[in-house]
């Protein structure tokens, strides 16, 4: 086995040295002399967070199945090791070989949330890789990004050589072959990156130039020459049963946030909730067959020994094979002494029955995500959930022995009025009252315990609300206060708890989500001021970010509270993710009229994804 990159002195001095030593069960060791391509996958947060991410397990498995490639992993060193590495000039290394990441051919960084952008710079800097793509040579790896935030990559475009638009299972082989060819023929790095643009899903920022109007909005986004396509098209897996799946996932030694078998049952969503970016970018919905999932479940239990199994998808209740799959899993997992962790399910008789079988109802809570308190607001966001659904489900649950209910909402949704906000605690109150009405005193296991949790709405690219202004932090706080005060007036307020999120972080998330290339400098400035692990509450320094905006001469509210015109060219318009801008605008207008739209199963809304000829769209196109 290789020697460790970190000395004993360092390992003894830091928290959880096990994060940095590799050697995990199912981690892959190859002989670097016998592979042509070395790929380093990175999740820009600490090990325990990164190891919870299914995407990296999928790609790690895929790359390592290629005989000519060895894929390893790297995660953000925590602040204690970060300080030591800078002081003692220890280069950032991959876990398997313990080799410096700079020596790899590719560094792939997954972009799951905007608050990890400063960590990307940490990875590059500690890896001794130039932060700016334009400064890199063949001594440096090709830095490639993918994942949800790549659907607006512009704020971090300086730092990446390539962005991969879409699902990673499909086009990497082509990219690696292109790379091997380039190396063999002695192609320059710049020419290689020009050739990469020939792959339709690859976005190479330096192959495009941007210009701005006087009002600061985007004027143009142009390829630098004719061989570079004007738009980049997202790629998707069309047959989920054929796609690779990590049935031998790497098992972390330390406890990861999500430390269990994960079965991805489907990808995409039919619901079309207007605030939800994931629902749009993963369209069309594509299921894995029940047979495939049953086989994966068995293999994974055998290969891991995990004692917990979970299902992963956006709206699990819509999976057509759910009853059959759950029946199978409940029986198999019970035999093998594996706990089932259920995803969020629509609350009805079926799901309550399932939950009863796998959970201790006295200890777990029922989760509803109405996202909005009033029917008017729910229609605006196209969240198809009525008061009858919620109360009906809650009543069944209370009769079944539950007394804990969690309710998730957002504040700051477009066209929101005061009465919509007040409706949140009023709804919670109705549920609490229902508990006392439904369950006779002798049968109650204590009070009803209702928890309201509100987050602050952040408009995202490729949603119907990408034109909507975002509330300022002051507005958010006022709305949270209104919610709190209205709660205090409710009859059953003693049975209801209220949690709300940080408003400042939501503001920064809003800037970065719909930002443009001008923000590259702000991110770098904030990083240089010490911003790191911004997703970690205690490490988030809002003042440093505000200072950075000021120093760069940029007004953050330009990206958040400003109302965007329907004619505006967005920084992300060059991406074709399947759904058309006209569809999204149509949905935005419907929201203004408080009109709902049917889901994909009931009626095709003509979003544009049918161009992929996959998944549920086939129900409509194969006539």
């Amino acid at each position: 086995m290789n020697e460790l990159a970190l000395s004993d002195d360092i390992l003894y001095a830091i928290d959880m040295p096990a994060r940095y030593i590799g050697g995990e069960i199912n981690s892959v060791m190859k002989d670097k002399a016998h592979v042509d391509v070395r790929f380093c996958m990175c999740f820009p947060d600490i090990y325990e967070i990164g190891m919870s991410h299914l995407g990296i397990q999928i790609l790690y498995d895929m790359f390592n199945r290629f005989e000519d490639t060895w894929c390893e992993r790297v995660y953000s060193p925590w602040t204690d090791l970060d300080a030591i590495m800078r002081k003692e000039n220890v280069p950032l290394f991959a876990l398997e070989s313990q080799d410096p990441i700079r020596s790899f051919d590719f560094l792939g960084i997954t972009l799951q949330y905007e608050m990890c952008y400063t960590n990307i710079l940490q990875i590059l800097e500690l890896g001794q890789i130039p932060l700016h793509a334009t400064d890199r040579t063949w001594e440096d790896p090709i830095v490639i990004g993918g994942g949800p935030c790549s659907y607006n990559p512009e704020p971090i475009s300086d730092f990446f050589d390539i962005f991969y638009m879409g699902e990673g299972e499909t086009e990497y082989r082509r990219l690696l072959d292109l790379y091997k060819d380039a190396k063999k023929t002695g192609m320059s790095r710049r020419d290689f990156l020009l050739k990469v643009s020939e792959i339709p899903c690859m976005y190479v920022p330096m192959n495009y130039t941007v210009s701005y109007k006087d009002d600061g909005t985007l004027k143009s986004f142009e390829p630098i020459n004719y061989s570079v396509p004007k738009r980049v098209k997202k790629t998707i897996v069309t047959d989920m049963d054929q796609a690779v799946y990590p049935t031998k996932p790497v098992i972390p030694f330390v406890r990861a946030m999500q430390d269990r078998i994960v079965l991805e049952i489907q990808r995409g969503c039919i619901r079309g909730c207007r605030f939800c970016q994931a629902g749009q970018i993963y369209k069309p919905i594509r299921e894995r067959s029940v047979e495939t999932l049953k086989a994966y479940a068995q293999e994974m239990m055998r290969n891991t020994g995990y004692e917990e199994l979970s299902l992963s998808s956006l709206s699990s209740s819509d999976y057509t094979g759910l009853p059959e799959l759950l029946e199978y899993l409940i029986e198999e997992c019970s035999r093998k002494k594996v706990n089932i962790s259920l995803p969020s399910l629509r609350i009805d008789a079926f799901s309550l029955d399932v939950m009863n079988k796998v959970q201790d109802v006295r200890r777990t809570s029922l989760t509803f995500a109405p996202e909005a308190g009033s029917q008017r607001m729910r229609n605006i966001i196209n969240k198809n959930l009525t008061v009858e659904d919620i109360l009906g489900g809650a009543k069944e649950a209370f009769l079944g022995g539950w007394n804990k209910v969690k309710l998730y909402f957002m504040l700051g949704l477009p066209f929101e009025k005061e009465e919509d906000i007040k409706a949140i605690p009023e709804l919670a109150n109705e549920i609490a009252a229902l508990y006392y009405d439904t369950v006779p005193k002798e049968q109650r296991q204590g009070k009803a315990q209702i928890t309201i949790s509100t987050s602050f709405f952040v408009p995202k690219p490729f949603t119907a609300f990408q034109w909507a202004p975002q509330d300022s932090p002051e507005d958010f706080i006022a709305k949270a206060a209104l919610t709190k005060n209205t709660l205090a007036e409710q009859l059953n307020q003693k049975s209801i708890k209220y949690n709300w999120h940080e408003a400042d972080v939501s503001m920064l998330e809003g800037v970065l989500a719909r930002g443009d290339r001008k923000l590259n400098r702000v991110i770098e400035t904030a990083y240089r001021k010490g911003c790191l692990f911004d997703a970690w509450g205690e490490n988030y320094h809002h003042e440093l970010w505000l200072q950075s905006f000021e120093e760069c001469g940029i007004d953050p509210t330009f990206y958040t509270t400003r109302v965007r015109s329907e004619e505006e060219l967005f920084p992300w318009d060059f991406i074709d993710c399947g759904v058309t801008k006209s569809y999204l605008l149509r949905e935005y207008h419907k929201a203004m009229r408080e009109e709902t739209s049917e889901n994909c199963k009931n009626q095709c809304q003509g979003c544009g994804c049918a161009s992929y000829m996959a998944g549920i769209c086939l129900n409509y196109t194969q006539k």
Partner: protein, 233 residues
């Protein structure tokens, strides 16, 4: 039926802490497809009991845990299957079937043999041997509820040898929930008794510890290996 499993822990895996090691073994036994016995109740768990925790950074040639099974494969099968499920650095060396009514591993532990080695070459190990053999008092300061207390280590050290060539110190000390002597305490006490000053002191205190074996006390009052109990199957 209960078996006692002996394993070694060496190399980079020494940085995995005890709790993580337990969770690791819980998965390993399932991967090895053993016929595990589970507790009753809503959250059934394996009946696995580790002898004595190893600190992060320590290696070991003799660690033990007891495991309850419904049925046994052959000893060879057991070892093969478990080792196929092991990470590099952990080797399942032996397994024995415990007699009925045997005290569990955790309750049995009474001592450990530690081998201490150093990161730099020390010139004064012969003096260390002398200090020990001369009976110089060795004490350790411990924080108790009543404030800091000094207690004598000598009563708890049952053997002690120094190999100046191999640059190691090997000691047998009390271990367990009642009294637990860490190798580091002994080394520090010797450093104090020798009035060692830097850089010698720093070099001496920077130790690498390997537990050679975990011990229990037999009916005759002697220290024996935890692995001495039980029979082959």
């Amino acid at each position: 039926m209960i078996v006692r499993v002996k394993f070694t822990k060496k190399g980079r895996i020494r940085f995995i802490g005890h709790l993580d090691l337990m969770r690791y073994f819980q998965k390993a036994t399932k991967r090895a497809d053993l016929d595990l016995k589970y507790s009753q109740g809503f959250n059934p768990h394996q009946l696995m009991s580790f002898a004595f925790p190893l600190s992060v950074g320590m290696e070991s040639e003799g660690e033990y845990f007891d495991l309850e099974l419904n049925s046994l494969p052959t000893k060879e099968e057991f070892l093969n299957r478990m080792n196929a499920a092991m990470a590099e650095g952990i080797v399942v060396e032996d397994v024995k079937l415990l007699p009925e009514k045997c005290k569990n591993a955790m309750a049995s532990v009474s001592g450990s043999i530690y081998r201490v080695s150093f990161y730099s070459k020390l010139s004064f190990l012969d003096q260390v041997r002398e200090v020990y053999e001369n009976g110089v008092p060795l004490s350790y300061r411990k924080e108790t509820k009543e404030g800091a207390k000094e207690f004598s280590l000598r009563d708890h050290i049952h053997s002690f040898s120094v190999d100046s060539e191999k640059q190691t110190i090997t000691m047998l000390v009390d271990s367990g929930s009642m009294t637990n002597i860490k190798a580091a305490y002994v080394v520090e006490a010797i450093a104090d008794a020798m009035h060692l000053e830097d850089p010698k002191r720093t070099d001496f205190l920077k130790i690498h510890i390997t537990r050679i074996d975990t011990l229990m006390t037999n009916d005759a009052g002697e220290f024996v290996s935890l692995g001495a109990v039980g029979e082959d199957f």
